[in-house]
Symmetry: C2
Subunit: 310 residues, 2 copies
């Protein structure tokens, strides 16, 4: 029954202290799609310009990606440039050229509305809300939302509105604190759950991720201990792809989702996020296999389990 | 066979945005002792002045604490004052009055040297080295070391020397990066293991802790999700007390230590560190029971385990 994602497909120019890449495939929807399509078919809703390189379309073609929702519009594809600092945790935006993305009006093909999972990647909250209404009208069940500090600051009320309507909120740690105006992560998660979502996933970058459920569920997953980070761009979107991709596959297989499925999904999120950091753009995700994922999952079991008696 | 700790016993004055405490029991050795004595007898090696309040001695008296190594010297006990910022993660030192601690020359009573575990809490590396030599001469086996950024900056070579001689190094994340001069934690752990220790514990504060072994062992434990932090002073020492206390008890019980013991020890470290933050000074540690620890251990199992198949 597939996964629908709505977000940006871009051409990124990245500089790090250890190397760089020019006009490579980027954008939240691209990273998400390359991760989630390892688990299930992905319906990709985005916009590209007529300058978009065919080889990147081939990346999607080589995977289970439905491109009927990918609009091509006369003009330039969204371009973003960024430079990472020495610690690889902070970066400066060097340029943002919206191009055809400025007029993006996402429309879901009818059958996309029945996807098992719908992911509203980080775009303007009003656009996210429009997609959410279309998805819900068509019977979409599990709808998940991502955002960024820009929208908390410039579109706060619209963001709160769309948060009220989704099932799962994915949010970075500092943004959770910012939107809830508290230093306590647990209080921030409570604030978000009280708006409506049944689940909040707090992304902590190189520290892993936390899951808070409205039923009191709590789960903590450490990050994979990478020896080297080559490019963290899109790691949060690959995380979302692993998490929601796993949930979509489980739901297609068993017809339901248990708390254990969500916990395992969080591990899959951390796995895909870690692989994403190992190379520029989606290069590592492109060559990734189910066996690679299974091997890293076993490593996660090994370095987090300690048996049950005190 | 007990645990020997060498470090500071102090009187702390703490200010936080939410309250404060004046001249309360502090110092690394105090926090460590109040945590570790829940697991085994603690031999306390420290110095106090003649002004030291009797009620705080009664705290030790109420626990399994051997005070033959606690010297009382004419003069004022070490005093420290600190003020926490709004995020409770950063603090300013308001004053440091060394008092009798300035002349501290730790000497181990003979039978302290055979302790199952020896902890060199954060003091000047040359003093730590002197204690390490005494302990090794008496046959001490598991010797663990803590330090701080001050010694990395002002006594670098002495610190490296004592690190070469210990079995376990406990170190805060940012200090591990600082001493190894790298942004990669994994590389920093490797640097420390190459000096000699068989194990490095990287303390990540509210993110938990990591364990790296020279045999390739890796283990990650998230922190306990506290709703509120009242006073984080000494949490790292309480962490060390839970970790090493558990190891000492296991070794006394089974005669050996397995990799699983170290993993469980790390969980006990996180448990004691989390309790320490719930009140000022050692107040929460003082009322803590084995049942409280066992209950939190079960919570840790619940929010970290996800079963073994992908």
């Amino acid at each position: 029954m597939a996964i629908t994602v709505v977000g940006s497909v871009a051409l990124d120019t990245i500089e790090t202290p250890f190397g760089g890449a020019d006009n490579v495939l980027g954008g939240a929807a691209s990273h998400f799609t390359m991760a989630a399509s390892l688990y299930d078919t992905v319906n990709l809703v985005a916009v590209i310009g007529t300058d978009f390189p065919q080889p990147y379309l081939d990346y999607f073609e080589a995977r289970r990606v439905d491109r009927r929702g990918l609009q091509t519009v006369e003009g330039q594809t969204f371009r973003w440039g960024g430079r990472y600092h020495l610690d690889m945790n902070t970066r400066d935006t060097l340029f943002t050229e919206l191009g055809v993305f400025a007029g993006f009006a996402p429309t879901l093909p009818d059958d996309y509305q029945q996807a098992h999972v719908t992911f509203l990647a980080n775009i303007q909250p009003q656009l996210q809300h429009g997609v959410l209404r279309q998805a819900r009208a068509g019977g979409a069940s599990l709808c998940a939302l991502d955002t960024m500090n820009l929208w908390i600051e410039t579109a706060h009320d619209d963001l709160i509105d769309v948060m009220r309507g989704v099932d799962v909120m994915l949010i970075a740690e500092e943004e959770a604190r910012q939107i809830a105006n508290t230093a306590s992560l647990r209080a921030a998660a409570r604030f978000i759950l009280d708006l409506g979502p049944q689940m909040v996933i707090v992304k902590q970058g190189s520290y892993g991720a936390l899951l808070y459920g409205s039923d009191g569920t709590f789960f903590a997953a450490p990050a994979y201990p990478l020896a080297e980070v080559r490019d963290p761009t899109g790691a949060g979107d690959a995380f979302a792809g692993g998490f929601l991709g796993y949930l979509a596959r489980q739901r297609a297989t068993t017809g339901t989702l248990t708390p254990l499925d969500y916990k395992r999904g969080l591990i899959h999120g951390n796995i895909l996020g870690s692989f994403a950091c190992e190379d520029f753009s989606v290069e590592r995700l492109r060559t990734l296999t189910p066996d690679d994922i299974a091997a890293r999952y076993r490593e996660f079991v090994g370095f987090t389990h300690f048996e049950g008696t005190s």
